[in-house]
Amino acid sequence: MLLEVAELSVDLPTSGGVRRIVRSASFALDHGQTLGIVGESGSGKTMTALALMGLLPDGATTSGAILFEGRDLLKLNEAQMRDLRGDRVAMIFQEPMTALNPLHSIGRQIAEPLILHRGLSNAAAHAEAVRLLERVGLPDPVRRARAYPHQLSGGQRQRAMIAMALGCAPRLIIADEPTTALDVTVQAQILDLIADLGAQSDMALILVSHDLAVIAQNCERVLVMYGGMAMESGRTDDVLARPAHPYTKALLQARPRVGARRGERLQAIAGAAPSAGAMPKGCPFAGRCPLTIAACGEALPAPVMLGGDHMARCIRIDAAERAA
């Protein structure tokens, strides 16, 4: 296994006291595999991704283990983590405009990690940067390498970000909402690019998104998060075809679909997600869930295995099956 996350919990200090943002999440990923983490705002998906990068906000505390290439990332110090970041693990952010330094040329920013981690000379690193820009499909890479971020379009900037992430041939790329800021037609191209590059070099990919459809089309396996908890996970085909958790089911039905009858009532999920300040001690979906019973609110539901690595954390799975 390339990556094994076991019982990861993240606590974050807020003005109202320490809050548990991620609650014992477990998942694993092997070389060349793709995993999608889907969730709404406040689900803990971004904090999970940042924990993998060792980029949690100041004051955050963690428990559990993140085994990457056999080493527990949670036990590494900042210097060891820095060696890893950009080299073995790389990240692609949502808004490339803010993730890129506006004062440095694109080429220089792509060359930087190469100089840092690979010990390349300036000239060699710059030549490599041009080659990377070509690989991510930017036309006229020599000229683009000299350009500054504001001179590129949103899609081009995201391609440049990807080139930067690819630089040191990382084993794992974490992409946090990489296409949310982009137009639909550009989004599809960027997702294709990420998928192709992953397949070419046997990189593992974690795609974090609020959009289940984006995950469905790009990831072999999916992890559905809600209220800091991994509600359901498994092969994307299985989860989409036979969603076991009431939350996953609701999420699948809530979207309007092209071709559906106009004005048809959508299966809305009543209420709102619990805020991190008011996280219940039991299942975070209890209360919004039509199948809630008293026991749901009392303890964190244990994972239930449903064949293969299809897992759901729900004590009402039987009832959910009957309701379907």
Binding site: S41, Q187, Q189, Q217, A254, R255, G259, R262, R265, A272
Partner: protein
């Protein structure tokens, strides 16, 4: 688009152009112009909600704001129930505003953080004459209840609400003058999926309950189809295809409409590959604006700009070689 019985359509946009002057590129050079909306005409008849789909920079938001006189068109007209808004005197325009309201994308930016919900929701009423304080309070309570909030929420401030609830407050504000036309600019795209469905259901309920007609702006085809009877697809300031929603989405005639439909992520694991990367060049000065991205472009497309022309099934398409 059918003619409304007995009179003018609810909203009529006639050859509307909106240009912006950009900063000079050189000290004494001319100021370049951006044609955000480049000659758009359409009608919205009462009871048939109209959707405008397009990507960022297509000019759809500018068009929406011009449609309810929040922007002044460079040329062309926007007529509400037969009267041209850009020619109306200020007082008359203020009266007309009661018939048209707006819902914004970002429920965090669209509510003044320092005002109570009562003041926010009551703001359009405060601009109307002859509404007593008691009447106003009653209508605020009524509007809040119509969107699923309680009358006691009127005393709260926006930060006490979640994103979905804030959007309900914004919708209550748009409802309070009992408008006939509501312009909604990406009303659900800032919301979580589980909340989107609530707000979309609310919007369709209100459509039936209060006889509202929406002018909906969105990048999301599914959302537009859910609410709207007519759809227009906008690209670089122009409509490339308009028509009844079912027909347009089921068998798009314009290659750009086709590309938008194909690119939208769907809940299935297999996926059609996206077409080759589009060039980001601003496009040629002559010919079809989409020609540089179009897989079916021929030499005629680069020479002559296609006009919007009718097809037999009630659609209009601006393409020399419709699919």
């Amino acid at each position: 688009m059918s003619e409304q019985q007995g009179g003018a359509p609810l909203l009529e946009i006639a050859d509307l152009v909106k240009t912006y002057r950009l900063p000079r590129e050189r000290l004494f050079g001319p100021r370049p112009q951006l044609r955000a909306v480049d000659g758009v005409s359409f009608r919205v008849t009462a009871g048939r909600s109209f959707g405008i789909v397009g990507e960022s920079g297509s000019g759809k938001s500018t068009l929406a704001r011009a449609a309810i006189a929040l922007e002044w068109p460079t040329s062309g007209q926007a007529r509400l129930m037969g009267s041209a808004m850009n020619l109306a005197p200020r007082a008359a325009l203020r009266k007309m505003r009661a018939h048209m309201q707006m819902i914004f994308q970002d429920p965090y930016g669209s509510l003044d953080p320092r005002q109570t919900v009562a003041r926010i929701v009551g703001e359009p009423l405060a601009c109307l004459d002859g509404i007593s304080r008691a009447d106003g309070a009653a209508r605020i309570a009524e509007a809040l209840q119509a969107v699923g909030l309680s009358a006691t929420d009127a005393r709260k401030y926006p930060h006490e609400f979640s994103g979905g609830q804030r959007q309900r407050v914004a919708i209550a504000r748009a409802l309070i003058t009992r408008p006939r036309l509501v312009v909604a600019d990406e009303p659900v795209s800032a919301l979580d999926v589980s909340i989107q469905a609530q707000v979309l259901n609310l919007m369709t309920d209100l459509q039936q309950q209060f006889g509202i007609t929406y002018l909906l702006i969105s990048h999301d085809l599914a959302v537009v189809e859910h609410i709207c009877d007519e759809i227009a697809v906008m690209y670089r300031g122009r409509f490339v295809e308009t028509g009844p929603s079912e027909i347009l989405l089921a068998s798009p005639a314009h290659p750009y409409t086709r590309a938008l439909i194909d690119a939208a992520p769907k809940l299935q694991t297999a996926r059609r590959r996206a077409p080759a990367p589009a060039s980001d060049s601003p496009g040629p000065k002559t010919g079809c604006a989409y020609a540089s991205r179009c897989a079916f472009a021929q030499s005629k497309c680069r020479e002559e700009a296609p006009a919007l022309r009718p097809l037999v099934d009630g659609r209009h398409v601006a393409c020399h070689f419709p699919l």
